[in-house]
Symmetry: C2
């Protein structure tokens, strides 16, 4: 009696649930300390102390009515102003509170902007490997997700194929850098080419193509690599940001959309985003956490912890003979499987009590994602298993 579309979803998700249940079963048998779960992108580094301080300060000094009440669907003006100022300081931009719509995380933000933009049968393009939920977010609005095949050389996007896939139906392109699942940061050269292709295609088709930049991992960039700020390269850019990873607050569902004045049909995009926030049932981003993040915009989680994990795992896997691009950001390693079938490899890994996600889930078979947002010790203890795994594949 549930919706047809959801029947399909339930069927698929039961496969994932089976994997999850298997992990739980293993933990029960061998103890959770002997099961190495690299399957979840759940931050393991604590939120900065500033978060707790902000909560206490707000709760102890402000009126409860003001902390927990309704506000404009776009969010508190002073919060949006603080965010705009912070972006301007970091990137030399010139945004105001009017360009910010507070959202229920980046997932909420992406749904709001897709609801705002997409007509049924519109096309959205993304680059494999990509976060699998994009498929759902796009189909929620009866639009179609087209994917560009992975460039396994360096996981920068395949721009020639991209160019060929753009049609008059292309309404949006969604990119994610630092990338889940590769950890790759799209280079400035990539962004410049991407922008120039988009501009040319807009002209060719007399259309408007929005570039949606999904940025939950922006602050997780290693070795001081700069992550280009896309509004400076392409005028039709909209940013979906989340504090889930930058402040380790994934459960609180807090993020924002940045909608620059330069985007096509700006006034309507802004007004419609505000309305979409309401009618999709979000109504507004959680009120206390709007105030909290406004006080923590310069705070950061300790990314050295992730970096130590990255180095240990990357160097060890290389030494065992695995092939892998060194991630520049996020907390994932995307590793070529020593056998072709990534699902089979995940099964074998599970026998070593190592839980991984197959690349197939990201539109890139023949790889696995290892989420290294785990305790250092978990990696250390899992390394012998990784070594055995590759040796058994030889």
């Amino acid at each position: 009696m549930i919706a047809e579309q959801m029947r399909e979803q339930v069927k698929n998700s039961s496969v994932i649930r089976a994997m999850f249940e298997e992990g739980k079963r293993l933990a029960e048998i061998y103890g959770s300390e002997n099961v190495f779960d690299f399957s979840l992108g759940n931050p393991n580094v604590a939120p900065p102390e500033a978060v707790k301080e902000a909560i206490l300060e707000i709760i102890n000094s402000e009126e409860a009515m003001n902390i927990h009440g309704y506000m404009n669907n776009s969010g508190y003006e002073e919060v949006r102003r603080a965010i705009a100022n912070s972006i301007n300081q970091k990137f030399g931009t010139d945004f105001t509170q009017d360009n910010i719509v507070m959202t229920v995380g980046a997932a909420g933000g992406l749904n709001v902007i897709f609801k705002t933009l997409l007509n049924p049968e519109d096309e959205v393009i993304t680059f494999a490997p990509f976060f699998g939920e994009y498929r759902n977010y796009v189909s929620n609005y009866q639009a179609k997700l087209l994917t560009v095949s992975p460039n396994t050389l360096d996981f920068q996007p395949h721009l020639e194929e991209f160019q060929d896939k753009i049609s008059p139906k292309t309404k949006a392109v969604i990119i994610n850098s630092p990338n889940n699942p590769t950890g790759v940061i799209y280079s400035e050269a990539t962004i410049i080419k991407l922008a120039s292709i988009l501009r040319a295609k807009q002209k060719e088709f007399n259309s408007h193509i929005y570039l949606i930049s999904d940025e939950p991992y922006r602050e997780l960039a290693y070795d001081n690599i700069e992550v280009p700020y896309l509004t400076k390269y392409y005028e039709n850019t909209i940013v979906a940001y989340s504090f889930s990873k930058s402040l380790s607050l994934p459960g609180e569902r807090i993020g924002y959309l940045l909608i620059p004045p330069s985007v096509s049909d700006y006034e309507n995009v802004l007004a419609a985003s505000n309305i979409a926030t309401r009618i999709l049932g979000f109504v507004n981003a959680p009120s206390l956490f709007q105030r909290v993040i406004a006080r923590c915009l310069e705070a950061k989680v300790d990314i050295d912890t992730y970096n130590r994990n990255r180095e240990l795992l990357y160097q060890s896997l290389l030494s065992f003979g695995y092939e892998c691009i060194k991630p520049q950001g996020a907390f994932y390693l995307f590793v070529k499987t020593p056998i072709e079938d990534d699902l089979e490899f995940c099964q074998r890994a599970k026998q070593k009590k190592i839980l991984l996600v197959p690349g197939t889930s990201f539109g890139c078979p023949g790889y696995v994602r290892i989420a290294y947002c785990v305790a250092y010790q978990t990696i250390e203890k899992a390394l012998p298993g990784f070594k055995e795994l590759i040796n058994e594949c030889k």
Copy 2:
């Protein structure tokens, strides 16, 4: 360049925004203390002290990682267990944590259940007057909202007309009691008849019709009137609850869906609700506030404050000659306009610096909604204006 459907939304909302802007303009000219805003359903009674205590206790005693992290999309197990136990104690039911899906308020919950249930072209029935957002929530999933005309005698639903509107396409019925905008509580007799009609129609059409009970105002019932708990009357009932009004936390977006084991296709409805929570972009209900409400399930806002407002406004308006059903719950009065045109009446009210919402917005022209969740003094100061208004209409 925005979606066609959203273009329509932006056009309509600019009318409401114009009203809002006018209110702001009046406040600037006359001072906000001399503008009487009865247009918003925003609680003016502070959250119970237990909310603050719960926040402090959680923040000071638990690990930040546990407070703000991801959990199952349905929410924390212990929170869901606490809610199920609390419902069982109050209503003699027998639910478990498995029957609860935590949601981003009732608005989020309604979207999750509609996404779960509705195929395009399915029909959902509701009773006028009704919360206007239902129209959007249903059309988000390409389904159709059918409305039963208002029964202005006592604002209990027109059950004969309802019966005639049920078709094989009817997938759900949504009711809201205590009602926004009338404040009426659907009587047990009404519920029993409604349930019997639904059962007969299910049999006639060999179909499954879900009764969605939207209950943000359940705890706001006056004079110890009991609000029937619908799962006891009709096995295909799903409850969408919110803590926005019961704990005055509208900005925090916290509520739940109750999905009893008795509903048709139970396992799938439950699994699909969990998935819908994820793919609609909610991901989960805000984590800290899940924990907070679990500690405040027996706390209540001071409804005496609302009750004093209700008595003052109701008695005064009657004495001026207005016609109105005495509300039994919520914080709204739904008043017959002394002239036929409710939009024109709202315009005239604005000239007295009184801001109201026309009944037309709720599918019931010829009435206005007065939200009395305002300071007592605001009502006192507005009364002369209400008196002048009706006298000028004579």
